[in-house]
Symmetry: C2
Subunit: 729 residues, 2 copies
């Protein structure tokens, strides 16, 4: 499953830097505004609508494509019915499940609007309304500023743009940086706050194959769920209220009734989170040699610690269940990327060759070219400098994040930031963030157990001690640990951690909420040992943050030059360049297509109901509900079959270019009609976040015919089929 | 690898009983005499020669198809050049390898006749000369005899037929039973005793993929080697002598120069060892519930004991290397059969349904039908009775076989048998067997280490104690162990075994060879503890042997009736029946064809040189010689490429029906020309020894174009290409 939420957060935490390279003919997460440029290619692949229509955010199909914050979804009825993945609706299903009424296990079909169940109050639906180019406003007059000043200026301008754009009660704005800061967009989204659960198949369908099949093909997962957007009676976003009414979107997707076949055109519109396609060779090298192996080893130890400390403690195990699932997902992602790199013929060399080609071309471009070559060299130097302190920059902040120490640091930081005018506060501590911060402080209990967290903190401290060279050790943390910069261990570490966890009151929700209102002096005067830790290490955190921002500021002056050179170089060969994914709306297109993972093995692009029966063992995650087995055996729903297959298609492959965050994205056919939902990629696609291999990279979709077959023949969600204007038995 | 030698011997030792069921349209190991009956089917599949030619043992191609005793081979030149698998020529390569000149590792190409190397003196080439039906001579007058008398009569008649047929100096005869004793054939073969090694690729080509790829597809193994048959100057078989001359066969196969494609007709002629296609449902049940799981568990414990006892002892480990390889092969075979059964939808029920259909049909056939139904019921009773003592019949003889105890038993038995006239001696102890028995006594040292053997004997004794119910325990063995029939353990077992191994002199070759000439009284008077064991348990061995022979005699009166009923039943539906494999010459035909092992996965029928490069890791068994990598990289030998593949085909799949013993068989095209060598089956084919599934069962062949490419571009065996009349660069 490509659940952006955790994987991308981890990736962001772990990878400090950012950068670019040219596009294959077969890849691309395009900005909607680029579609007209691609008209010839779109037509060649089979698009049967005006490419210009794919640039129009205010019209069908794009205005029906919405974000759940970490997942994508789409409107499929005039009454605000939303379809997304099962794993994207998971929170809403889990929130409504109790031991007595286990919706995860049994599934749920609301019989009427009144039966639709409110999701977690934090659930949101974001409807993109406008994307405006604010590059000029952000970058004007930056030249000549040093790194920190440049960073701060960009930050302040972004915040000002957001503040001017947002409106209380339903409009949320964000500035997105494209191509490493070459361009900036202000994106305004409607923020719907009343989200309800309408329909989810049982987990045995929606999560069929579970972790075993995750990132694998062949696949047989019914990864869909249905939500509904509700608004106040005035039609404006409002928190949950019983008498809110269904939101009426301007557009909604039509579910295709045409048979999708191998070789057919498909496209996916959605919110891909993050890719690294334009990284420099040195950054790829660092990922292969250091940061990825480091992550894989850490994730394994992290999982082992959780397993050890929750053994025999069901309650603690449950609190960490979603963390474990997320880490497992990330582990497979990182290991998959390493495996992918290992399978490639010299990935670093590929990037290096492209940089060399770029430099050769720039050498023919006079002074402008010379300046770009110099910028590239300067960028290389910045990246090399960052590498010099990579161990410190990774492991010191990790000790001060997550669980008890992270909560203390957040509370102290909040007090520091609240003393500033709102516009000057650090992101995450502004007025607009207050509700979410409070939510996190409230829900901490659900994913925190002191003895588990203590073991994890110890693991991070040990990593810090083992990995960070003496020259870059952090005096404040060493002081807190009671050691000198050359000490590789802390004699009384267990006792220190015991005292920290035994003495702190931050495990208490009321205490946390009270501290959220406390001022800086109050926190600095506290004798809570977790707050003492936060106070002791905060100067170092702020110092390193400042250093990082200064570097980011310097890089923000260099990477855009590299990207501009790349774009110009590609343009000289007639190739448009798409920016790396940044959670903004993108379109990717291609065809339904299998692949050959190795000599003499061919993956076919469709799986079947017969394949579900063959995989079913009766043991989790390969359980199939008996009514479904009966429906398959009796051949019900023959109208959903695909002639070439002689069976109902379950999942299918395409060569569209997607990543985490695309989960739940509508898969559209040549006419822009819904033929499935994107929910995963094959194992070989994991390394495509860095280097796209058109022979091996495949996206995995659930086929709309399978959705309809289950809804019609097994789950009896006829009400929804009718709402979508679809026939049923 | 389908090496018959060990796997079939183990299977024969483990499975005490024998039986039948009707043929699919897509399966069949046909007797050459059946080919004209199959003319329509052969033509439909694409055969472009007269089917009658495939019945003619004295003409091309069949008289070029020869046996190596456990493997198949074929003549490919008028000078007695023989091609077979690398794993079939393995003994000859190993025999000529030394640490200084490691032919296994480096490969070997004889530059001239004079450079060809003599194989192990036990190596043989058998050329089938005549197959005559001797059913009447074997079965005449058997009616009314009781089980033991019937067994003895058949045994005596077979021996008499063999004795009358064989001629010293080169003609060997055997009686083969078909369809459970419904028919008997006397087969006369020329026995060529001077076999020489001509060419073998390095193991990195010939065994590429090793145990990991064994029984797997996709496959990239260059599993061929070339031998040559030599005879005396008079043209008659003779032991090795320097001035022997190449044998001149009447026929030899032509190597095809036509491009073989997917869907093309292919056939394989060879000597398949043993199948169980006509077993009754109860026998399949027994295999699934008891005998196979028992074998798998035993093989695992056996391997663990060898690993434990040879740890740190390189010399001992080397002695057991081939045993370990063989047991691993058998373990994969048995586990694969169990996996195959588990994947089938009720294999026992399938057999039962066919027996029920047969019975229904027989019910319409009057008195004759009634008699056959009664015979089937009687057969079922015999099999049920055999099941009642299956633990004893398996584990008691195992204690008295193999290693030290087995050698003692063989020596004592030999002395007993030598006292009888030759014609009455037990098979294996007749004059014609003397040389092989002596050879085994000589070569024992190469595969025997006392401390390892002691652990294995202990393992077998423990199995006997744990598995055999008190009611069927063997008093003689219990007495030797010093326990009563209800004792489940032997307090001083280690001490007893220590005394046995410390006291016996049978580890000494001279002692064994001397005892091979000793008479019964001498052995009975010996105080060698291993011989004391043999003398003590021999009465039980002979008693159980007699009981087994009596049962076999009774079954030999019943199973032919069942098979006759099967044949009649199938004939009534226009379907010919082939007999189970019995190491006699058979032909199987089909097409080059891939398969789908699971939903959405398609195995293509050809692998490529590019696939070798992709699999090459540089670590055994995935090493590729640098000259070969260079030849691939430079695209040498483009004339061997297959257009549809754009590469040289390496291995290919077909749906022909083969099993262990078929290794090395020539794969022939529609014109009877050589297009490859059969060397293995896919994992899904393992259970085909019992139930053939035409969707999943595939044979694996090495493509003659790959052989020629390696010979031409890498190993430079141009002399042989010329001898086979083939062009080269």
């Amino acid at each position: 499953m490509r659940n952006l939420t955790l994987a991308a957060a981890l990736a962001a935490a772990i990878l400090a830097t950012t950068a670019p390279l040219p596009a294959h003919a077969d890849e691309g997460m395009w900005r909607p505004s680029q579609m007209p440029q691609l008209a010839a290619q779109l037509k060649a692949r089979g698009l049967q609508m005006d490419p210009a229509a794919l640039s129009n955010l205010a019209g069908k199909p794009l205005d029906a494509v919405i974000s759940l914050g970490g997942c994508t979804a789409s409107f499929v009825s005039p009454e605000g019915l939303v379809v997304t993945n099962h794993h994207c609706g998971y929170g809403a299903i889990q929130y409504n499940s109790t031991p007595e009424r286990d919706l995860l296990k049994d599934g749920f079909v609301a019989a009427s609007f009144a039966d639709e169940l409110p999701a977690d109050p934090n659930a949101r639906i974001y409807v993109t309304q406008e994307i405006s180019d604010v590059t000029a406003q952000v970058v004007e007059g930056l030249d000549g500023m040093d790194g920190k000043a440049r960073f701060d200026a960009i930050d302040a301008r972004e915040k000002a743009l957001v503040a001017a754009c947002e409106e209380p009660g339903g409009l949320r704005c964000n500035v997105y940086s494209f191509n490493g800061g070459l361009e900036y967009s202000l994106i305004r989204q409607l923020e719907i706050q009343d989200v309800r659960l309408v329909y989810a198949p049982p987990e045995s369908i929606g999560k069929f194959g579970g972790d075993i099949d995750n990132f694998e093909w062949p696949r047989h997962t019914g990864d869909w769920s249905f939500l509904r957007a509700y608004v106040g009676k005035d039609g404006k976003p409002a928190p949950y209220a019983k008498d809110n009414v269904p939101f009426q979107p301007k557009s909604w997707l039509t579910v295709s009734q045409q048979p999708l076949q191998a070789g057919d055109y498909v496209m996916v519109a959605g919110y891909p989170g993050r890719t690294n396609r334009y990284r420099l060779a040195s950054e790829v090298q660092d990922a292969i040699d250091w940061s990825h192996p480091e992550s894989v080893a850490y994730f394994k130890d992290y999982l082992a610690e959780i397993e050890r400390t929750t053994a025999g403690d069901k309650a603690a195990a449950l609190k960490y269940a979603s963390t474990v699932a997320g880490i497992n997902n990330a582990l497979k992602l990182y290991q998959g990327q390493l495996d992918g790199f290992a399978q490639m013929d010299d990935p670093v060399g590929m990037k290096r060759a492209r940089e060399d080609a770029l430099k050769q071309w720039l050498a023919t471009r006079g002074e402008a070219g010379k300046a770009q070559v110099a910028a590239l060299a300067a960028l290389e130097r910045e990246l090399a400098a960052a590498e010099a302190t990579r161990e410190r920059d990774r492991w010191f902040p990790s000790v001060a994040s997550g669980g008890l120490t992270g909560t203390a640091v957040s509370l102290y930081r909040n007090a520091i930031e609240q003393a500033k005018p709102d516009a000057e506060r650090e992101s995450g501590y502004q007025a607009r963030d207050a509700a979410r911060l409070e939510g996190r402080m409230k829900s901490m209990d659900k994913r925190y157990d002191a003895s588990v967290d203590k073991a994890l903190t110890k693991l991070r401290i040990e990593r810090y001690l083992a990995q960070v060279p003496a020259a870059s050790r952090v005096a404040e943390l060493d002081a807190w640990l009671g050691i000198g910069p050359n000490d590789k261990s802390v004699a009384d570490l267990d006792a220190r951690l015991d005292a920290l966890y035994a003495g702190s009151k931050l495990g208490d929700e009321a205490v946390r909420l009270q501290l959220l209102k406390a001022d800086r002096a109050t926190i600095e005067a506290s004798d809570d040992p977790a707050l003492r830790f936060a106070v002791q290490v905060m100067p170092a955190l702020l110092r390193l943050e400042g250093e990082g921002e200064a570097r980011e500021g310097r890089i923000s002056a260099l990477r855009p030059q590299f990207m501009q050179a790349m774009i110009d170089f590609n343009a000289s060969q007639g190739r448009p360049v798409y920016p790396d994914a940044n959670s903004s709306l993108r379109i990717t297109f291609g065809t339904v297509r299998g692949y050959s993972p190795r000599d003499a093995v061919q993956m076919q692009p469709f799986t079947t109901l017969a394949g579900i029966v063959a995989k079913t063992t009766g043991e989790d995650p390969f359980i199939t509900p008996q009514p479904m087995l009966d429906a398959i055996a009796s051949g019900e729903g023959a109208q959903y079959r695909m002639a070439a297959l002689g069976d109902v298609p379950v999942n299918f492959l395409s060569d569209v270019d997607t990543t985490g965050g695309n989960s739940g994205s509508p898969t559209l056919d040549a006419k822009g009609e819904l033929v499935g939902l994107l929910f995963d990629g094959n194992y070989e696609s994991l390394s495509a976040d860095w280097i796209f291999n058109p022979d091996l990279t495949r996206s995995i979709h659930v086929d709309a015919r399978y959705m309809r077959w289950v809804m019609d023949e097994v789950d009896h969600a006829e009400r929804l089929l009718e709402e979508m204007g679809l026939p049923h038995d």
